[in-house]
């Protein structure tokens, strides 16, 4: 199968590669760029484990082809924290609130919540639950996750999301 070239920015770094048109953005990130923090829980757009930011929008990378990200700016879980390895406000809140157990769903939640709080720094409880309903977690029963979003919303209001 013919390969096409793509150029994009991933976590602030310019990347260029050739890729089969059928390769999903998720597989491209995981296999070609070795950014394995983006996880696959269903590969059909329901679980949200593969969520990344594409030009700032939370996107399911299993539903998008790598070639569609040509020219885009992509942020994965590896690019969410501060460059020195410190945790973002959302990541710290997940740690403080026991918002993760096995951690497999976690990158997708952290990325989704980061985008959500950036756009909705004052969420109500039902809004939080609604926003989280696009991501599946089988371990936590969502208790710690909801608490983490509430805690991180405080940081969002103070403009300290990162």
């Amino acid at each position: 199968m013919g390969e096409v070239s793509v150029k994009l920015t991933v976590n602030g770094q310019p990347r260029a590669a050739t890729v089969e048109p059928r390769v999903t953005l998720a597989d491209f990130l995981r296999e070609q760029l070795q950014l394995t923090g983006t996880h696959l829980g269903c590969e059909h757009g329901v679980c949200g484990a593969c969520t990344v930011l594409v030009d700032g929008a939370a996107v399911r990378s299993c539903l998008m082809f790598a070639v569609q990200a040509d020219g885009a700016e992509v942020t994965t879980i590896e690019g969410i924290g501060s460059p020195d390895g410190g945790l973002s406000a959302v990541q710290s809140a997940f740690r403080d609130c026991h918002g993760l157990q096995c951690g497999f769903c976690t990158p997708g939640f952290v990325v989704s919540v980061t985008a959500f709080l950036r756009d909705h720094p004052n969420p109500t409880d039902p809004e939080i639950r609604e926003a989280l309903s696009g991501n599946l977690c089988r371990c936590t029963g969502y208790q710690g996750i909801v608490n983490a979003v509430q805690q991180a919303a405080g940081a969002a209001r103070r403009g300290e999301l990162r």
């Binding site: 394995t36 976690t106 936590t140």
Partner: protein, 765 residues
């Protein structure tokens, strides 16, 4: 976030300390099996049966093999002869087992049955090639409905001679005819639970890496039991066990599904050494829902006799379970647990059970968190039905029958000897947290306004931490390096249950170390001793025992060296903050770092020991209380409050305990309201994506409120197992809440699931 104990040393057990797992998992730096990438690695994909039962006439692999990049296509004839022995260490060689050919041989027995294994240079190519493998099937009559399996003409396993796998009756139901005939009240129902499954968000997977030069086989596995995978594999291939190493870093949830070695995984173990390169298989969601195993799917005729005051006189359960085509393990003993636990935490003077397990042409039964939880579902649903019949409040009926502390130890009629439990306390605590009387008043008010609220109660007692056989032992090694870093090595098998954190907490406490000085290594069989992994709610208690035994040896050595170094008696030394100091003169002391250097530089200080369990099981009890509102027009159930009062003894880390309870509870809620691993009449699975298999999301789940009662167990630290209880207590609490809400309509609920369509149908009846 840690508490200070009176002696001045840090005390971490009992504190909500941050997890040591979190930094890597939050930043995308975990290592799940699909993240393992080795040079030259090949990728595997299964060809699976599209038919519930058929004879395999012919398999043509030529088109698949002709595809560039495809290296091998294996069929049963290639792989199956490689099997030497196949049995699990935890189950034993003597236990009967369903014949489990790695690839289907001659006959396929369920939709999803692995027929061929394609190996190619990429997962994409392997999937392409799998579609090119031509298999001619001759369909055969399939046994789909387990309630008809016993008398079906078709046999799932011809060699077994019957679709009844095994059955067991302790006492026939007729033995209690007199009690039931003379009882003031009798409640008797047949209760059904549908198939649902663990569904970890990460599927199963392996990377098998064989070196023909050294003969070493390394397996990276998504598993709850790395040491079992290692020993199973060594026997399967007839390889010396020291040649096989299993490495598990992060496992994305298991809930029982990743305890045993399944047929798909055997195929990878057999193919790995043949393909000349590392070989990866990671199942996708469809495979997980098709082939990783189902759970639940069972029913029972249950009955209870009561005297005029509502005291239980006898309880009987006649239980029937669907085990699919390839149950793992042999299902009789897990099924018998449904019988033995059926009396629950109640005063039940007489009782017995019968259990029957059946083959069908559906995916095989696999363990799932609280594999026997049907006992609680059946008992608690029956108690509510009985209360309604007797016009007694369901809380009052339970209160009259719950075991009191002064009656312990108490032997139930099926031989279970309960002790160190507090069913009446958790019950009263949970009711108080709800304010039961107030809820009843709100319910009455709502009803008069045409709104239907309900409350559901459920009590259970479960046996955690099996103390027999290989389950009853757990090792640890603790090393203090000359750098001062302390590393604790345990068998591992965490799949989200935080045993890295809890083991670090316990080790820091046991040695008097600062928690930030302690690391842990788990899941690598090359550097840890055999332990049976995460199963049976055993990790907490067993690793606590292992750390206690090992730390005791190490403490003695630290004390001896420190006493010598400081010129005082051993009794005068105290260990705290990673330092040995003189009790009377705390400023005089020596750090663990310096002691390790003194001891045996550069080896440091090291000890290994093994804990052996002191009781056959550790009992845990809890009460679940759930309230809901049912929209009688749409059949939609909205959960309002959810309360769990649990007695798991002292908590090593309350965050971890509550996290386990919450996770299990939401799985139980899902099992009642949303999840159904359904098949059509021809044996085709109809829920093979997350569009059809509905998991609960944050939007459907209420906040869970926790109450804790603390009755120490006889085990190390008084700890108990808490991994499974949520999934046991939740289903009956939710069912009872819905039934209570619908009681004005005279609706009786005896069948799950309770989706909107089922509820509307119940109301239409």
């Amino acid at each position: 976030m840690t508490e200070r104990a009176a002696d001045g040393g840090a005390r971490y057990a009992g504190a909500r300390v941050h997890r040591v797992e979190d930094d890597r998992l939050l930043t995308g730096r975990g290592t799940f099996v699909d993240d393992v990438s080795l040079p030259g690695m090949l990728h595997a994909c299964f060809v699976r049966s599209p038919i519930a039962r058929a004879a395999i006439q012919r398999i043509d692999t030529s088109a698949a093999l002709a595809l560039p990049g495809v290296r091998f296509v294996f069929t049963a004839a290639d792989l199956n002869p490689g099997v030497r022995e196949q049995w699990h260490t935890t189950i034993g060689k003597e236990m009967p087992e369903t014949p489990r050919p790695p690839l289907a041989e001659g006959e396929v027995r369920f939709v999803g049955d692995p027929v061929a294994l394609v190996v190619a240079e990429s997962r994409y190519l392997a999937e392409d090639a799998a579609e090119l493998v031509e298999v001619d099937y001759e369909p055969l009559p399939a046994v789909v409905d387990y309630t008809e399996a016993e008398h079906a003409k078709a046999l799932v396993h011809e060699s077994h001679g019957s679709n009844v796998i095994a059955q067991l009756t302790t006492v026939p139901a007729s033995a209690f005819d007199e009690v039931f005939a003379s009882a003031a009240h009798v409640a008797s129902e047949t209760i059904y639970q549908q198939a649902y499954a663990p569904v970890p968000i990460e599927g199963r997977g392996l990377v098998v890496d064989y070196s023909s030069v050294t003969g070493d086989l390394t397996i990276h596995a998504s598993t709850q039991t790395p040491h079992e995978v290692r020993l199973f594999c060594s026997r399967l291939l007839g390889m010396p066990e020291e040649r096989v190493r299993v490495v598990t870093r992060d496992t994305g949830g298991g809930f029982g599904q990743k305890v045993m070695v399944q047929r798909d995984e055997m195929c990878l173990m057999l193919a790995g050494p043949v393909v000349g390169a590392p070989l990866k298989w990671v199942e996708d969601r469809r495979e997980n829902l098709l082939a990783a195993g189902k759970s639940r799917q069972e029913h029972a005729a249950v009955k209870m006799a009561f005297d005029a005051d509502g005291a239980i006189q006898a309880a009987y359960i006649d239980f029937v379970q669907d085990c699919g085509a390839y149950p793992t393990p042999w299902p009789l003993f897990p099924a018998a647990a449904v019988g033995t636990f059926f009396p629950g935490p109640y005063r039940v003077p007489r009782g017995g059970f019968a259990v029957k397990t059946l083959y069908t042409n559906t995916v095989g039964r696999a363990p799932y968190r609280g594999p026997w939880q049907f006992e609680s579902l059946a008992r608690e649903v029956l108690l509510d039905i009985a209360a309604r019949q007797m016009h007694v409040d369901p809380a009052e009926l339970r209160r009259r029958n719950l075991l009191r502390r002064d009656e312990l130890p108490y032997k139930n009629p099926n031989g279970m000897n309960y002790d160190n439990i507090s069913p009446l306390e958790t019950f009263e605590q949970a009711l108080a947290m709800l304010d039961y009387a107030k809820f009843r008043a709100e319910q009455a008010e709502a009803r008069s306004a045409g709104r239907y609220l309900g409350v559901g109660l459920a009590n259970y007692v479960e046996a955690s931490t099996p103390g027999y056989g290989v389950y009853g032992t757990e090792p640890a090694t603790i090393r203090i390096a000359p750098t001062g870093r302390i590393t604790v090595y345990v068998a591992g098998g965490s799949s989200g249950n935080s045993i890295e954190t809890t083991v670090v907490q316990l080790t820091a406490d046991a040695l008097g170390a600062k928690i930030e000085d302690v690391d842990t290594v788990q899941g690598d069989t090359a550097v840890t001793g055999f332990g049976a992994g995460t199963a049976g709610s055993r990790s907490g208690s067993m690793t606590a025992g292992a750390v206690r035994e090992t730390a005791a040896v190490l403490r003695e050595r630290i004390l001896a060296i420190a006493a010598h170094e400081l010129g005082v008696a051993i009794e005068d030394i105290e260990l705290a903050d990673s330092r040995a100091s003189v009790r009377a003169k705390p400023a005089v002391g020596v750090s663990f770092k310096d002691l390790a250097a003194l001891a045996d530089a550069p080896a440091g200080l090291e000890a290994s020991a093994r804990y052996t369990a002191n009781s056959p099981s550790i009992w845990v009890n809890a009460t679940h209380v759930c309230t809901c509102e049912v929209d009688v027009a749409t059949g939609r159930v909205q959960l309002l409050r959810y309360i769990v009062s649990e007695d798991c003894g002292p908590m090593i880390n309350p965050n971890v305990v509550e996290g386990q309870i919450a996770g299990g509870t939401v799985q139980g809620i899902g099992g009642v309201l949303f999840e159904h691993l359904a098949y059509d009449d021809d044996g085709n699975p109809v829920a093979t994506t997350f569009m059809d298999y509905l998991l609960p999301t944050a939007a459907e789940v209420p906040a869970i409120e926790f109450g804790h009662i603390e009755t120490p167990s006889p085990g190390p630290g008084g700890y108990k197992g808490v991994g499974e209880g949520g999934a046991i207590g939740a289903p009956p609490a939710v069912v009872n809440a819905v039934a209570d809400a619908l009681s004005p309509f005279g609706v009786k609920i005896t069948r799950l699931p309770l989706g909107p369509s089922q509820i509307v149908a119940l109301l239409d009846r």
